[in-house]
Symmetry: D2
Subunit: 352 residues, 4 copies
C-alpha cells in the first residue's frame, strides 16, 4: 500500500488531504509535518480528529520526517516551500505533489513572472525540475499525470475556470478576445490564518472583489487555455470573496462564433465530459447552487448561452477545498498510482 507523507498538514488544505486519506482504502498516511505545533499530535490541534489521526506533527526539516519512508509526498504548503523540499524527496525516490504555484509552470521564465506578481523572489530554487513538472488538472492532463514524478496541483480558481472554458476554447466556438471570468470564492480558500478581512464580524455581511490588478491564478489559467487553443489566450478575471465557508462559483463569458447556440454548446460540453467522473454538465433550466457540490469532488457546469446577445456563458460550481484543492490532489494521486480515479472520492457530500 503506497505510503503518503503530508507537509503542511495543519492548514485547511492539509487537513483536507488527511481526511481523504483516512477514507482511502489503498493509500496510507504515514507521517505529517508542519511548521507550527511541532511535537503535538494533529488531534491536539484539531480535536475532531481524536482517534482518527493522532500522528505527531514533525518538523519538515527534521530527519525524522525527511527519512520517513513513503512513495509520495504531498506539500500542502504556501508558495516557495515545495521548491526547496522537492529535490531531496525526489532524490529519495519519492513522487512529489505540490499545492502551490511552485510547480505549475514548465519554465523558469513563467515562474518568474508569476512570482513577481506575488511580490516574491522571482528565482525558482529548483528550476531544473520545472521541465518535468505536470499541471495537475486530471480532466485536461490525465495521461501525463499518471506517469508524473512531480505534479503542480492547480489553484482553486483555475480549476473552476478551466473546466468551464476548456471545451469551448478547444473547439474554437468563442471569440478568444472577449473572455470574462467572474469568480466568487468562499472564505476557506484564504486559509486558516486569521486576518482582519476574514474576522467574522467583518465578513458575515460583506462581499467584495480583490486583487483587481491581477490575481496570480490568471497566469496558469491563460497558460492552460493557450495550450488548449494552440494560440495565446488572455482573460479578464475578477476574483471575489463572499460570506460562506466552502464553495466557488465562476461565471465565464465570451462572444460566441456565429451559428453556435445553446443546444450545440450543451452537446459539446456533455460530450467533452462524458468520461469525466467528477464533471456534470446541466442545462440552464436546472437550478444549481454550490450546495450541490459541497463536501464532494464534483464540478457542475451549467451551460447558459444568452442567444439574445450571442454570448456564451457557463456557470461552474465546485467546493474550493475539494475539487478546488485536496480532492483534485487525491484524484492526481489515484492516477499516479494506477487506482480508479474515484477511489476515496466517491461520496455525495451531506446536507444540509
Amino acid at each position: 500500500m503506497p505510503r503518503v507523507k503530508v507537509i503542511g498538514a495543519t492548514g485547511y488544505g492539509g487537513l483536507g488531504m488527511v481526511e481523504l486519506l483516512l477514507g482511502h482504502p489503498e493509500l496510507q498516511l504515514t507521517a505529517i509535518a508542519a511548521i507550527q505545533d511541532v511535537g503535538k499530535q494533529l488531534s491536539q490541534v484539531w480535536p475532531y480528529l481524536v482517534g482518527y489521526c493522532d500522528l505527531p506533527i514533525l518538523s519538515p526539516d527534521s530527519p525524522e520526517f525527511q527519512d520517513s519512508p513513503a512513495e509520495v509526498v504531498v506539500a500542502a504548503t504556501p508558495d516557495g516551500v515545495g521548491q526547496v523540499l522537492a529535490p531531496r524527496e525526489l532524490a529519495a525516490g519519492r513522487r512529489f505533489l505540490d499545492y502551490s504555484g511552485d510547480f505549475r509552470f514548465n519554465s523558469a521564465e513563467l515562474y518568474s513572472e508569476y512570482a513577481t506578481r506575488l511580490g516574491r523572489d522571482p528565482r525558482h530554487k529548483s528550476a531544473d525540475l520545472l521541465k518535468e513538472s505536470v499541471y495537475g488538472l486530471s480532466e485536461t492532463r490525465r495521461s501525463e499525470i499518471a506517469t508524473a514524478r512531480l505534479v503542480g496541483n492547480p489553484g482553486c480558481f483555475a480549476v473552476s475556470v478551466i473546466l468551464a472554458l476548456a471545451p469551448a476554447v478547444r473547439e474554437g466556438i468563442l471569440d478568444l478576445d472577449t473572455l470574462v471570468c467572474d469568480s466568487k470564492s468562499g472564505i476557506s480558500g484564504a486559509g486558516k490564518k486569521p486576518t482582519p478581512a476574514h474576522h467574522y464580524p467583518e465578513r458575515y455581511e460583506s462581499m467584495g472583489a480583490y486583487r483587481l490588478a491581477g490575481h496570480q491564478h490568471v497566469m496558469e489559467i491563460e497558460e492552460e487555455l493557450s495550450r488548449l487553443a494552440t494560440r495565446p489566450v488572455k482573460i479578464t478575471f475578477t476574483p471575489q470573496v463572499v460570506p460562506l465557508t466552502r464553495g466557488m462559483l465562476s461565471s465565464v463569458y465570451g462572444r460566441l462564433a456565429p451559428g453556435v447556440n445553446q443546444a450545440k454548446t450543451l452537446a459539446l460540453y456533455q460530450e467533452a465530459y462524458a468520461t469525466s467522473a467528477f464533471v456534470r454538465v446541466v442545462d440552464s433550466n436546472q437550478a444549481v447552487s454550490t450546495a450541490d457540490v459541497r463536501e464532494s469532488n464534483r464540478c457542475i457546469l451549467t451551460v447558459a448561452v444568452d442567444e439574445r446577445t450571442g454570448f456564451f456563458r457557463v456557470i461552474s460550481h465546485i467546493d474550493n477545498l475539494l475539487k478546488g484543492q485536496a480532492g483534485t490532489a487525491l484524484q492526481n494521486l489515484n492516477l499516479m498510482f494506477g487506482f480508479p480515479e474515484k477511489m476515496g472520492l466517491d461520496f455525495p457530500g451531506s446536507h444540509p
Copy 2:
C-alpha cells in the same frame, strides 16, 4: 409637512420606507396598509417598532385608507398592485411612487413584454398613465422626477448596473455589443416570504445563479442604457444570490474603445458623478466591499479597467434595500417635494 401613505408596509421594502420616514424631518407617515395582518399595529407584527410606529395596518381597499389625506402614496407592493391603485390616488390629487415594474416603462408594449417574461397578464390596467410615468433613478432623471406625478422606482439590480454603466455608455467608450453584467444579491432582495431556497439551512452555504433565461430587470436596464446611448443596447446579465442579507455587488464588463485606459475611465466617472451626493467613485487599488455601503444610501463604484485585455470593468456596491430600493425611493420623494436630496438619508451606516 407633506404626508405619506405607504401600501405594503409590512414587507422589507415597506419597512425600509417606514424606518426612513421616522427619521425624516419634513415628511410625515400618516397611514399604512397591507394585505396581511390588517387590524394589528405595525409594531405588533414587527416588535422592534414598538413606540416608533404603532399605526394600525389598514386594508388597501378600505375607505379608511383610501380617503386618508396625503400628498404622496408609496406602493411598496409586488407587480400588478400599483397599476390598480394609482388612478384613484392620482385622481385625489396625490402623487404616486411605485416599487414594482408597473410604472417603469412608458408604453403598454414594453410593459407587455416585461409582464410576459414574468408570466403575468400582459395587459396593463392603467395603460393611459404610462406615458407620464418617470423612471425613478435620481442620478439619470433628476429633473423629470422633480415634477413627476407618477414615479416607477427602479429594481435593485437595475440601480446597481445602470449607475455602473451610465457614464461609459453615454460617452461611447465601450463596444456596446460586449456588455456583460454579473450581479450578486443578498437575500433580502427576495422579500420576507419564506421559500425553500431561502430557508436558513438551505442558504447559509450556498450561492447560485437564477433566471438565466432572462431576469425581468434586464428590460429596464436596457431601456435606460439605450436612452443614454441613443441606440439599442443589449446586455448579458447573470443574477446570482449569495448568503448575506443586505448587499449587492455588480461587476460590469465590456470591450473598451481603442485608446481608453484606466486613468481616462476613472476621470470620466469621477466627473460624471461629481455632483451626485450618493455615488462615490474610487480607484481599483482601494479595497471596497458591500460592508462599506451597508445601511447607507451610498453607491461605491470601483473603476478597474484591465489594460492587459482592453476590457472595461466597474464594480458597483450598494445596499439592495436602501440605494437599491427604499433609499432611492426617499431620494425621489425629496426631489418631488423640493427637499435637499440627502434629507433623511444622510447617515453612514453602522459597523460591524
Copy 3:
C-alpha cells in the same frame, strides 16, 4: 444483508439516514417513501445525491412500498405517522424504528400527556404496542435495544441533556430539585419546511428562546432521568435557537451534594462513559465547541463544576442531525442487528 426501508426520506432526518446507509457496509437501503414528490427520484429532489441514491420516492400508503421486503423500517416522520404505519410493518415481520414521539413512552397515559402538550389528538392509534417499545438511547438502553422490535428514537434535546445528566443522576450527586437545562439548537432541528422564523434574513442575526411554557422533549427527559434516579425528577428546561445549521449545546446545572467537587465529578463521568464509543468526557480547561462534533456521531461532555458556588455544570455538545437524530438511529440499527455499534458511524467529520 438486512434491508432497510425509510419513510420520510426527503426531510433532513430521512436524508441523514439515507446518507449513513450509503456508507454502511452491512445494511442496504431498498425503498424510500415520502408524502411529497412521489414518483420522482430522490436525486431529483436533492441533486447532490445523483448517482448515489436514485431510488424512486414511493407513497407510504402504496402497496409498492408496503409490500417491499425489508428487515427494518425507519420512520423519519413527524408525530402521528409512525403509530399508524407500525402495526402493518410489524405484522409483516419487520422491526420498526420511529423518529417521533410516537413510541418514546411505554403507556398510553404518558403519550396522551405528551400529545396534549403538542396540541395533538391524545389517543394513541396503536396503544397496545407501547408496552414493548424501547427508548432508543444506546448509552442508557443498550441491551433492550438489541432485542427490540419497536424503537422510539429520542429527540435531539433529550439526547444532549440525558447524556449530560445521566451519571450524576444515577449516582445521586445532585439535589434533584435544582436541575436547570439550558439548550441551544441549530436551525436544522426545525426541519426543511420554510417558516418565517427560519427565513435567512430573519434568522442570521437572531437568537431566542421558544416554547417557554413547556417543550415536548421535557417529558422524555424527565421519564428517563426518573428511571435512572428511581424517583421522580423534574427539570427547568429552556430551548433556544441560534443561527447555525448543525449543532446543539446544552448546559445543565444543579446543586451538588456536599463534598462532591470537580475531580470526583470528572472521574465519575469518565468511568460512566468509558465503554461508550461516542461519548468523550473532557475537563473544563479544554476548549470545546460544536465544531468539534459537527458531521460526527460524537457527544463531547465538558465537566465544569463551579466549586465557588457548589454547582454542578456539564456542557454537552452534539450534532443535532447525527447524534441528535440519524446517527443515534443508525447506532440503534447496529445494536438491533448485532453489528458493532460504530459500524458506518466511524468518521471524524470534516473541517472547516
Copy 4:
C-alpha cells in the same frame, strides 16, 4: 455644547460611540485617539465614515490629544489603559468614562481580585480614584451617575444579567444560593482583533462556552447584586459565544420563594422598570429574539417562571454593542450632562 474626546476610537466600542455622537444633537465629538493608525483619518481606516467622521487619529499620549479641550473623555480601551489616562484628564477638569474594568470597583482590593483573574498586574495605577468612581448602569445608579466625575461603564454580560436579576434580588423573591446565569454573546463582543477562534471558517458553524473557570464579568455582577440584596450573592455563570455579530441573550434562573408565581413576578418586573426608558418587560407567551433589540439601546426581559418546578426564569435580550456598551455609555453621558436619557438613543434599529 459639551465636547467629547474618544480614546480607542477605531475599535468596535469606539466606533459605536462615534456613530452615536454623530447623531447626538447636544454632544460634539472633537478629538479621537488610538494606538494604531495614528495620522490617518478615521474614515481612511473605516471607509463607511467618509464624509461623516474625517477627524485625524491622534496618539493618546500626544499633547495634541491631551491638551484638546473637552468636557468629557470616553476611554473605549482595554483594561489597564484608562487608569493611566484618567488622572491627567480629571486634573484638567474633564469627566471621564471608561469602558474597561478599571473603574468598575470601589476598592483596590476588589480591583486586585479582578485583575488577578485576568492574569493582569493586580496593582491599580490610580487606586485613589476608585472611591469616587461610579458603576455606570443607569437603571440601578441613575442619581449617582448624574453627578459622577468618573464612571466605569459596565461589561456587556453584566448589563444583561444585572437587569434580568435586579428586581428579583432586591425584592427577595429568590433563593440566592441557586442563581444560574447562562449567557450567549455575539462575536463582536470580542472586539475587532482577528483571532483563530473568530476567523470566519472556524466560527460560522460553532458555538461553545469559554472561561468556565471564571469570567471576569462575574465579579461586577456579584458586587452589584450583593449591593441590591444587602448580603453577599454568588452566581454560577456560563459565558458562551454563538455565531452572530450583534446580540446577547442571558437566561437567568433561581429557585423562587414559596408562593411566588409567574403573575407576581411579571408584575414586579413591570413595576420595577416602569420608568426605565430602555427596558421592556414582556410575558413568556410573546416571541422575542435578539433581532428585536438589534441596533437599538433596548433591553427586553421575558419573564418566564416555570411553575411546575418552582423556578424563576428571565430571558434578557440586548445588543451587546449598544445597551451592552456604547449605548449604555451614551446613556451615562446624557445623565452626566443633564440631557434626557434617550437623547441620541431614540431609534428603533433597522430590519432585516
